[in-house]
Each structure stands twice: as C-alpha cells, then as structure tokens.
Amino acid sequence: MTGEKGNKLARVIPEEFLDEKLTAEPKLDSTSQKRIGDQLRAMYDELMQQPVPDRFKELLEQLDKKDLETPE
C-alpha cells in the first residue's frame, strides 16, 4: 500500500509540534469527550456482537477446497 511512506515520514515529526498545531482548533472538555467516546464504543460493541453472516464463513471455508495459487 502507498500509505507506508506517509506514515514513516509522520513518525519523524515530533509529537509536541503536532500538539502545538492542534491548539488552534476547538477542543472539547474531557467530560464531553468521554461521553462521546462512551456512546461511540457502546454503539460499536453492539455491532461487534452481531453474529458473523454465513456468507463469510462459507467464503473462507472454500479455501480448504481451492488452492489460492490459482485464483480463477
């Protein structure tokens, strides 16, 4: 993936510099931030707990029968 290069560059930039840049933007107080985070995770957890649809199990089970070396 082409994203790799950007990431390596990003690591070189010191965190303090980035944080400094962030102070120009509106920032939430930590109470609100926590509430948003809690709601987000609650919504997400519910999605994570949904059963995996059969189509994915079937798709991966086919790997048993088919060699990946020869994609159709």
Partner: protein, 180 residues
C-alpha cells in the same frame, strides 16, 4: 502459497470488527457486507503482499477503507445526494434489539465528513493507535489527530453533549480541573 488454517481463522476473527467499521462508515448493512466480502477476496488474492508478523487487522482495514473511498468517489459522481441518502438509510439500521439511544448517535455520525468519521472510528472505536490509523489512511499522524478532534467536537455539538455551544466558565473550569 497455501492458505494456512491459522490465517483463515485470523481472517474469520477479523470479520466482526471489519463489519462494525464498514457499517459505521457506510451506514448500510448491505453495502457494508459487500465491502467486507470484497475486502476478504482482495486480501486473499494479495496474501503474498502481506508481511507476516505485522498487524493483519490494520492491513485488512486499509483494504476496506480504500475500497470504500474509491466506491464513494465513484458514487458521488453518479448519485444526487450522498449525504442525505446516507442519513436516511441509517434509520433502517437497528436490527436485533438495537437500542434506540444509538439512533441519535448514528445520525450525528452520518453528518460528519467521511474522513473525520473514519478517523474517529479507527481511533475511538476500533482500537487503533493514532500511528496505525495514519498508516491505514495514508496520512500524517497530526492529520488523524486533527480529524478525530474535529469529529468529536462536531458530534458533541450535534448531540448537545454538555452544551458545548455554551462554553461558559463552568465547563472551562471543569476541563482544567480534570486535566490537572
């Protein structure tokens, strides 16, 4: 390369988190499942590119995210009102016993620009670090931080969490106390 059972199990184990991400990102279960399926197929045909020992989930999320964006760009050219239709379809979402309180949250999430939504989902819900999220999105860590920050702020004002529109001395003091 033969598919190792370990890898197959790892792919299957990744499905719930890929689905949760895809559903939250696209707002549609059907489209999300198609995205997950395409992601798995693409991962399988590109397994030789996956570096063993690195984070499989991050690799899969990268594939899914790129598929979503290329599709989104394509649709935006074709479709009239992508944001409005997204918000409308979200209402179909609650399935097995989904709690009603998430309705507001989901429609607020749908109002975020896709890049902010994805950054928030990766960092705030999928458990990736800022560095991993930057890697997945192919951008700088600072960009992710800024997107997450803006996403939270926008959600808070859409949901009227703690009246952020009214940034009085009280909330300032509270924030200061909690940060100390």
């Amino acid at each position: 390369m033969t598919p190792e059972p370990d890898l197959r199990d790892a792919l299957l184990a990744a499905v719930p988190s890929l689905r949760a991400f895809a559903i939250s990102l696209s707002g549609q279960v059907d489209r999300a499942d198609d995205l997950v399926q395409d992601t798995l197929l693409r991962a399988l045909s590109n397994l030789h590119r996956f570096e063993r020992g690195t984070n499989l989930n991050a690799w899969l999320f990268t594939i899914l995210r790129n598929l979503f964006h290329s599709e989104y760009r394509k649709r935006r050219r074709e479709v009239e009102d992508p944001d409005g239709s997204y918000a409308g379809r979200l209402k179909v979402q609650p399935e097995q016993g989904a709690r009603l309180d998430f309705e507001d949250f989901r429609s607020a999430l749908a109002k975020l620009p896709p890049d902010q939504r994805e950054a928030l989902l990766l960092v705030g819900a999928s458990g990736f670090s800022y560095e991993e999220a930057a890697h997945i999105c192919g951008c700088a860590v600072g960009t992710i931080k800024s997107r997450v920050n803006r996403a939270r702020f926008r959600l808070a004002s859409l949901l009227n969490v703690d009246d952020v529109d009214d940034l009085g001395p009280d909330s300032m003091t509270r924030a200061a106390l909690q940060n100390s």
